[in-house]
Amino acid sequence: MPKGISRRDFLRLSAAAGAGTVLSVYGSPLSGLPALAQDKVDLRFIWWGGQLRADITTQVIKMFQEKNPNVNFTYEFLSFEDYWTLLTAQAAGGGLPDIMQHGTTTLAEWSKKDLLHPLDEYIASGVIDFTNVPEVLQNHGKVNDKIYAVSAGSNANGFVIDLDAFEQAGIDVPPDTWTWGDFEEIVTGLSENLGIWGFGSYLHHVDLWRIIYSGHGTDLYATDGKSLAYTDDAPIVDHMEMVLRLQDALAIPHISEESEVNTLGPEAQFIVKGQCAMDYLAGSNQLVAMWTAAGEDRNFKIMPVPRPEGGRQGLAIRPSQYEAVTVNSENPEMAAMFLNFFINDVEANKILNAERGVPINTVVLDALKENAAAPQQAIYDYLARLAEDSAPFVFPDPLGVEDIRVNVYYPEFTDPVRYGAISPEEGAATLREMSNEILAEANQ
């Protein structure tokens, strides 16, 4: 009890602290004030992503505002995990922004819980113009026969390889049909010849779970969504055993080493600074941010994820992310107009430049292909190769998939296995049992 502080000082301090909290909760002190001009329309857009995405998205917002001067546009951007924490709280409080970004699993969940505004009326009235969008891509945002979002671009998971490192190591670039056996050999070879890691982070990424089973010809989730579709843990156990072999051989970073960069986005991945010769791409679109950070003088190529021996290609081409209008929007039509601008305007997309994935509008895509820079060229090339041999895109996923990712897959399976606390068999069994419980409960 510091005697030096009088009661009045104490009150003054705590009042200041309280005011500070209020201000920080509401972001800027001015954001709560009503707009001065009567005819102004407010639009708020929140997305997740790194600095490059923030820069280009704000430019496009400014372009939209120039064409629609009556729109008062505000925006925020956050890292992926922070984004979902904030937006979940805003959903609970009924304070969602007009426009938000979604992934495939969340889109299903949020539209089923009536948090998103269906876009069908705006598509019918032409506010959102789908004339140049192939039907299969239009339907990527369809949940229960209603379209809840537009795809911001197409992508696929993949591995990025550093062509110069391969050349230096004297290792040939493998064919697209490479297997996990080839992969392990190449990673070991790269790391031995170059003295760097053969592969970077996230060789245990949650998306690989589905890709590996899909490579064996099995879906991940049962058609009724109440359980996993498999009962045999062997494919994922084999994979984690390979990860452990590589980790023990120091051919890939130890989990404690990669944890530090895994949440920081593509710009922070090890391949950017040449610490590894191959790295994981959570989406092919991330090559843009990654290559921009690494520098123009580098030479990258995207490879499909390897397939099992005698298996098939397990990758699907899917939306990298969606843009959706929420039920809390007071101006859903204006929000829909922005989405239309976002996917169809050629000038806007020259700035966005496939950073969120390959544009779904074919006219826009053709315009971009004319002057494509190296990263975009690599992505267009990759998706074209993949289009000839890829697994079907399964959508929507059952409810509870995000819960499994955050609360089971990493904390109960891959992390303890990679830290050596449990065996891959134990971990895989826990993963299957807990996932089945969550799916059964969430999809009654």
Binding site: M1, P2, R7, F10, E81, D82, W84, T85, T88, A89, A91, A92, E109, W110, K113, D114, L115, I255, S256, E257, S259, E260, T263, G400, E402, D403, R405, V406, N407, P411, E412, D415, P416, Y419, A421, I438
Partner: protein, 322 residues
């Protein structure tokens, strides 16, 4: 702060008694004015503290999905799941208990040591006091936690020192052996507030005792163990209870340093962080979070109760003064 408030509350009840005795209009008017002036605080207490606490008790028996807003009565299901079906819950308990049981004794020991040094210091006592107290003012803040994360990062300050000293760099925040120790160190570093209380306690010990002991030929050590420690037990008791409660509720530091995940391998998944993850994170279930919070309340109350019960065997009150 607590005792300041309690003291004020005491004055208030005293004032009320006086009012009741006098009972005239002017006093009643003053009374009303009093309530009017504290009404912002009262309204805040009822709407922001008491109602949510009551609501969380009800919610702890439900499944409350904050995304859809659906509330479903599930009885004791949350508690069953917590104790029998949630391995992460027990890892959170383990991390919290380990943190509390190591950081609190270390912190108190350190606080007492520094208080003793300051008590004997002759010059610049005010400056030292401010310097040592500063960490406990800023220590719970996001900024300091961010700084801590940078200091212990793989290319942070500590690793630079390690390299300069010819040692290997360590991944302090991501190695399951070290991660929780960075948080324990941070807690111990915030020894300022128990230190001030110890200092006040030391000053209350009459100097005659020490003089008498000196005449009897007692050395520094025996003076400390025979006089200082026994007479300081009420203060130790108070500090122990307060710090134990604080350490069970630690959130910010673990949230920032572990990136909100409790990594590595849930070794820094403190109980309140896990409540937060379950209540606000993906698959958010506010009901489950509320149930966990109520279990924490009971556990903290139990620990406090045990310390109180044990106090009669080791806390010495110098009743002669009263």
């Amino acid at each position: 702060m607590t005792s300041v408030l309690q003291k004020d509350a005491g004055k208030f009840s005293l004032a009320k008694k006086v009012v009741a005795q006098k009972g005239n209009k002017k006093w009643r008017h003053n009374n009303l004015m009093g309530y009017l002036f504290i009404s912002p605080w009262l309204i805040g207490f009822f709407t922001l503290t008491l109602i949510p606490i009551a609501a969380s008790l009800v919610l702890s028996f439900t499944k409350y999905d904050i995304l859809s807003g659906d509330v479903e009565w599930t009885g004791l299901e949350n508690f069953r799941r917590m104790f029998y079906d949630d391995p992460r819950y027990w890892r959170a308990v383990r991390a919290t208990v380990k943190f509390a049981f190591i950081s609190v004794p270390l912190k108190l020991l350190f606080a007492l040591l520094v208080a003793e040094l300051l008590y004997n210091a002759r010059r610049l006592v005010g400056v030292y006091r401010a310097v040592y107290y500063a960490p406990s003012i800023v220590g719970g803040s996001i900024a300091v936690a961010v700084m801590w994360r940078q200091i212990f990062a793989s290319k942070g300050l500590i690793n630079e020192f390690m390299l300069d000293a010819g040692l290997e760099r360590k991944l302090w925040l991501f190695d399951i052996k070290y991660a929780i120790w960075t948080l324990i160190l941070m807690a111990v570093w915030q020894f300022g507030s128990p230190m001030l209380i110890f200092l006040a306690g030391l000053k209350q010990i009459p100097s005659e005792y020490y003089e008498a002991a000196s005449i009897d030929g007692a050395g520094t050590v025996s003076k400390f163990t025979r006089i200082t420690l026994p007479l300081l037990t009420p203060v130790i008791f108070f500090n122990l209870v307060m710090q134990l409660i604080f350490s069970f509720m630690t959130f910010t530091q673990a949230y920032v340093v572990s990136g909100g995940t409790g990594r590595p391998l849930d070794t820094t998944l403190f109980y309140s962080l896990y409540i937060y993850i379950r209540s606000f994170g993906v698959g958010a279930n506010m009901g489950y979070g509320s149930a966990m919070a109520w279990v924490m309340l009971v556990v903290i109350a139990t620990f406090t109760g045990v310390i109180f019960l044990s106090s009669r065997f080791w806390v010495f009150y110098d009743t002669a003064e009263n």
